[in-house]
Amino acid sequence: RLRNVRGKVRFMRYIYSVDKQYVGFATLPNQVHRKSVKKGFDFTLMVAGESGLGKSTLVNSLFLTDLYKDRKLLNAEERINQTVEITKHTVDIEEKGVKLKLTIVDTPGFGDAVNNNECWKPITDYIDQQFEQYFRDESGLNRKNILDNRVHCCLYFIPPFGHGLRPVDVEFMKALHEKVNIVPLISKADCLTPNEVKKLKDRVRDEIEHFGIKVYQFPECDSDEEEEFKQMDKELKECTPFAVIGSNTVVEARGQRVRGRLYPWGIVEVENQSHCDFVKLRNMLIRSHMHDLKDVTCDVHYENYRAHCIQEMTSKLAQDNRTDSPLPILPLPTPDVETERLIKMKDEELKRMQEMLEKMQQQMHEKDQ
């Protein structure tokens, strides 16, 4: 399915024309803005990766809150046979009058057991469940208050300790890339020198292409965008996958109090662009592309799921004559199975007889001569 919906609200300066021919629908963007502020927004973000890669710290740094105050971490022994859980934290945050209902879906236990066969299955099941829930709601009779719990974006944390993607990373992303927008991140980037960061990014990009993994692609700029915006966009795209560092603590650096990590040899500042790509990630995720992520989820991933679901259901209905479908589908004019079978049989018989006739004819001709 092609992505042809941009859904980006652009704030234009429009010049009031003294011309009598001014109609006035140039105020539409303003109206959209007003209505959306009134309605409020929602966003569901999933974080996935092995434990100990800084997922919780990064989420706290991104949204400047502490979502994980009293969580309990398991011991190594308890994790030997651990199964993957799905946990949800929902918070309502507000900024300048704009309300956001943010849901963080966490996946504790992913990749932690000794045997991690199909450890991504609970995650794909969860995403499918949300799609199914929305599908039912959308097809229901009363559609006033549909809750959208579909996952809009999945941040996948790649450990920086290796040489690139590992088999479990590849398998996870391949299982999910057609269900959700995947944004891969290089976690704990403060263990990599700038050269090493570049090498690892190139390696990961190559491997993603090699394995055919479809990660979230930033939409192309319109040709009439400002140069500055285009430049920013280009830089953003060349920087993926983002190498991020998170921090729960505030330290004193260069006379300011910033979020960072204090080491004997220096201070790592989370928001310093020469230290890591945290700012780029935040800008992309929250400030410029949040709505695009939602759009792609609705228009591409959800539609794929819906089409697939409907196809399956119609083929099943034809087979076992079930009448309890969850949604009103018009029955397609498929012929009766019995008749079809009879027709097929007769066709075959006719063919056989024709062949035999030809053979006998040939024989008679030969005999004649």
Partner: protein, 473 residues
């Protein structure tokens, strides 16, 4: 040399004598030292850790040299051990160093079998040594000892706790080799996090009964430094072979935008501690422990498995030879029995197959008979039909003759017509007599065949029906 704790002379009466002068046997340690220096030393390190965690870099940093190695791939489908032997020399001391790398450790999705190749490798080295020891003609002084003296276990710096794989693997290894756990890439953990991390790791190891190597504290010369080092386990190390200028010195370090991590700076990481403990102070003790504890344990288990005991039921010391002979007889007996079994099975199988083949043969024979009978039946039917046809022919001929005799007695002008009609008969491409039959039949029978099968049998339709000629029905 195995250091035994038993006082050799404890059973006999001892008397302490004082010496009148300097005898000179205080040079014995020096003689020992010069002998071992001429012999050369050998040391074997096993590095266990996930791909990319920094094993090769740490080895390069520890021994201040560039061992050649390529980056391993993450996509091995199993764990492989890669031993490499190097000859190093410092002052006049020769060291034969073997570094064994675990390639592919921690990369698979299912890691339940990951520890096995490592355990097998260690056991194999013990086994080789045992074989050498049990030989009749042996040369232990010359033997290249490949037993692993130390296992460095690289823990990923997650900051939380051990990974489940780490726990499982260390439990399998702690009774076979000296383990020193180290935290790799420690420049990603801040000081406070590091303190908590170390405590968590040690408590997990203790609560799961994993026995790591403790630096020995019974020798007064090193007891102080060793016991303080024991408290710093696991060592948090950073490895680097790149040199960075700091102040007016060039040191091995890692350069970040926010600072420089110096490898040999004790406030930055525990690399210096590791080097002290591993190489400068306890190398010899590691070798001793490997031989006296781990190897002896292996040897005892192995020999017990084979049925050797130190004393037989009557508490008389067993002779190795007798036990060996008994075992051999048993083994040969087993072998013979197995051979018999296999032979029996083979014979049975052959009989079975024979039976099956006979059965098949019989079936085929029956079928053949049946077909023959059918064939004869058909032949008979065809014969009958032929006879009938001939009879009809004869009847027709007689009728013809009768007709002709009749026509001859009639006026001659009809002859020409008849002759013409006879000519046309002869011009059909069919065999003369047959065609006559067919024509006669055709003139007499109506066109009424509805299917091709009937048409074949009915000559009228065969000849006249257009539909049949065109192949339609």
């Amino acid at each position: 040399m195995a250091a035994t704790d038993v006082d050799i002379f404890s059973n006999e009466e001892k008397r302490n004598l004082s010496l009148g002068g300097h005898v000179g046997f205080d040079s014995l340690p020096d003689q020992l030292v010069s002998k071992s220096v001429t012999q050369g030393f050998c040391f074997n390190i096993l590095c266990v850790g996930e791909t990319g965690i920094g094993k090769s870099t740490l080895m390069n940093t520890l021994f201040n040299t560039m061992f050649e190695n390529e980056e391993a791939s993450h996509y091995q489908n199993g764990v492989y051990l890669r031993p490499r032997t190097y000859d190093l020399q410092e002052s006049n001391v020769h060291l034969k160093l073997t570094i064994v790398d675990t390639v592919g450790f921690g990369d698979q999705i299912n890691k339940e079998e990951s520890y096995k190749p490592i355990v097998d490798y260690i056991d194999t080295q013990f086994e080789n040594y045992l074989q050498e020891e049990l030989k009749i003609k042996r040369s232990l002084f010359n033997y290249h000892d490949t037993r692993i003296h130390i296992c460095l276990y690289f823990i990923a710096p997650t900051g939380h706790s051990l990974k489940s794989l780490d726990l499982v693997t260390m439990k399998k290894l702690d009774s076979k080799v000296n383990i020193i756990p180290i935290i790799a890439k420690a420049d990603t953990i801040s000081k406070s996090e590091l303190h908590k991390f170390k405590i968590k790791i040690m408590s997990e190891l203790v609560s799961n009964g994993v026995q790591i190597y403790q630096f020995p504290t019974d020798d007064e010369a090193v007891t102080e430094i060793n016991s303080s080092m024991n408290a710093h386990l696991p060592f948090a190390v950073v490895g680097s072979v790149e040199e960075v200028k700091v102040g007016n010195k060039t040191v091995r370090a890692r350069q970040y935008p926010w600072g420089v991590v110096q490898v040999e700076n004790e406030s930055h990481c525990d690399f210096v501690k590791l080097r002290e403990m591993l190489i400068r102070v306890n190398m010899e003790d590691l070798r001793e422990q490997t031989h006296a504890r781990h190897y002896e344990l292996y040897r005892r288990c192995k020999l017990e498995e084979m049925g050797f005991k130190d004393t037989d039921p009557d508490s008389q010391p067993f002779s190795l030879q007798e036990t060996y002979e008994a075992k051999r007889k048993e083994f040969l007996g087993d072998l013979q029995r197995k051979e018999e079994e296999m032979r029996q099975m083979f014979v049975n199988k052959v009989k079975e197959t024979e039976g099956e083949l006979k059965e098949k043969e019989r079936e085929l024979h029956e079928k053949f008979e049946q077909l023959k009978r059918m064939h004869q039946e058909e032949k008979r039917k065809v014969e009958e039909k032929r006879r009938e046809l001939e009879e009809e022919m004869n009847a027709f001929n007689r009728r013809k003759v009768a007709a002709e005799t009749l026509s001859l007695s009639q006026p001659l002008k009809k002859d020409k017509d008849k002759k013409k009609s006879v000519k046309t008969e002869n011009q059909s491409g069919v065999n003369l007599s047959n065609s006559k039959v067919m024509m006669a039949k055709a003139n007499m029978e109506p066109l009424n065949c509805q299917s091709w099968w009937q048409a074949i049998q009915c000559c009228t339709c065969l000849v006249h029906s257009d539909a049949w000629r065109q192949g339609l029905f």
